[in-house]
Symmetry: C2
Subunit: 292 residues, 2 copies
């Protein structure tokens, strides 16, 4: 069962209990000539579930990047459904990193797919704002019943400025998206003071993140780009706010799942656990230093 507790309240509670803002990203890479996406002797299922179990007490949620499961076809989708169910049994929130968004009737189907009750049911999902308000609206009733959204505002990739940073006309496009996210989220502020309509702001753009916090004072911000994409813990926390809750959760995917490639004396789950422990601690320290 998916929790009916307000999503941000649940994340905040887990964050305080575990002293963690870390999210485990499950991104089983494609097989390449350099390295297989799933370690030798592992099935995709076992790789995902052992990594999740090993990191469970270090993280506040598990984020699944849909692309890497879709790329493996029906076997991948079955593995996704199983890994999501496994995560729920560990009492961890599931985030579907789906970046969906379409005309209203289609967005309603995406919302049902990822925030409803089916095989891919999650506690929260990422959505793309390019289609505007009526593409977002069908997701909001699910927020009303406890789910969370993370709207792409400023993404972590090098080209994110191509359109997101355009002056539109007086301020960058992403700032206008951020203002809309704040408005969409106002009815959904929980007990911790945060809205379950959150945003994605890449750790690779800390100046944007500081400004984002001003534009979206209540948003729970999901931060990709820490770890494999090169951003520091301080960069990843640039949007953190003060008490009662930092309002930021920081994802790391490859740096945890593939830690065994640089930590060759350990098996994948053990290497992942050590990487997650180190990142959790590094983020907690950076957060304490910010507040201090």
């Amino acid at each position: 069962m998916i929790s009916s507790m307000n999503f941000t309240d649940r994340v905040t509670e887990l964050s305080q209990a575990k002293q963690s803002v870390l999210v485990l990203g499950v991104d089983p890479q494609l097989d390449s000539p350099q390295a297989p996406g799933v370690p030798t002797d592992y099935s995709l299922n076992r790789f995902c579930s052992e990594i999740i179990e090993a990191c469970a007490d270090q993280v506040v949620a598990v984020k699944f990047q849909l692309a890497f499961f879709e790329a493996r076809g029906l076997d991948g989708m079955r593995a996704l459904a199983e890994a999501m169910a496994f995560t729920r049994r560990l009492d961890l929130p599931v985030i579907a990193d789906a970046k969906r968004g379409d005309i209203g009737s289609t967005s309603a189907a995406y919302a049902e797919a990822f925030l409803g009750r089916g095989n891919f049911a999650s506690d929260a999902m990422t959505i793309n704002p390019y289609l505007g308000a009526d593409a977002i609206a069908p997701f909001l009733p699910y927020v009303e019943s406890g789910r969370g959204l993370f709207v792409l505002v400023k993404t972590s990739n090098p080209s994110s400025g191509d359109f997101q940073d355009l002056p539109a006309p007086h301020r960058p496009l992403w700032e206008l998206v951020a203002e809309q996210v704040h408005k969409w989220g106002e009815p959904f502020v929980g007990e911790a003071g945060l809205s379950s309509v959150g945003a994605v702001i890449g750790a690779t753009y800390p100046a944007h993140a500081e400004r984002a916090r001003i534009l979206m004072p209540r948003a729970l911000i999901l931060v990709p780009g820490y770890g494999a994409q090169g951003a520091s813990a301080a960069d990843a926390l640039a949007a953190a706010s003060d008490a009662p809750a930092p309002g930021v959760v920081v994802n790391a995917s490859r740096a945890i799942m593939y830690a065994y490639r640089n930590d060759t004396s350990r098996k994948p789950p053990e290497a992942a656990r050590r990487a997650a422990q180190a990142m959790r601690a590094e983020l907690a320290l950076a957060l304490a230093q910010r507040e201090g």
Copy 2:
């Protein structure tokens, strides 16, 4: 097997042979209190395959809206894979209406998922430009080997102007996206003079469509919004260019699949076929009148 022929050349050839610019959209709606998404006595598989077969000689491609399959979980994904395979056996191009787009390594996985060789392999797919150039780049090698892309430029929904029409700063955002689509597509112009890096322009915005054609003279434009969303055939063809090929394909989904709800003396496939025949003819006439 997916054809290795240039995507737009294949569509153009089918368009000339069938005197059609119609695309069948397969959008099996969610069950609602008003009506079931799949007709009584039909399975999802049978509903999709009978509609596709009944309309096959009227259309130039079949577009699958992923959301409606994802909303049905693993059963839906299996039905999607089967319906896509069935479509290929009828020698019709498959378009995955996925609207994906993410950071580079993730876009690479989406490209493999929908333009590669797996269960969801398609001839073309729709992608979302909000993340910028490096999120598009991983799709381009697949275009090199014969696949097609439709980049969301101006979508058909009522709120599409929220961000797409913002002055950014001197011209609307969507026009800047259109210019990029033109640049991304330049290396992939086929024998018919059209690029396999195409665009989505909603039929509900014909003035935008006329301007889009100027900005993207070579793009194959996929036009949603004709039929159930209320745009006329003339509106749907506003981006059509002259010889040798109109460079436009027009999607209709609900108006074909659910024609049986208004044509109650016929079974779903027969009602769909009649609706597709009427739309094909209406579009062909409107195209001839434009050229005349």
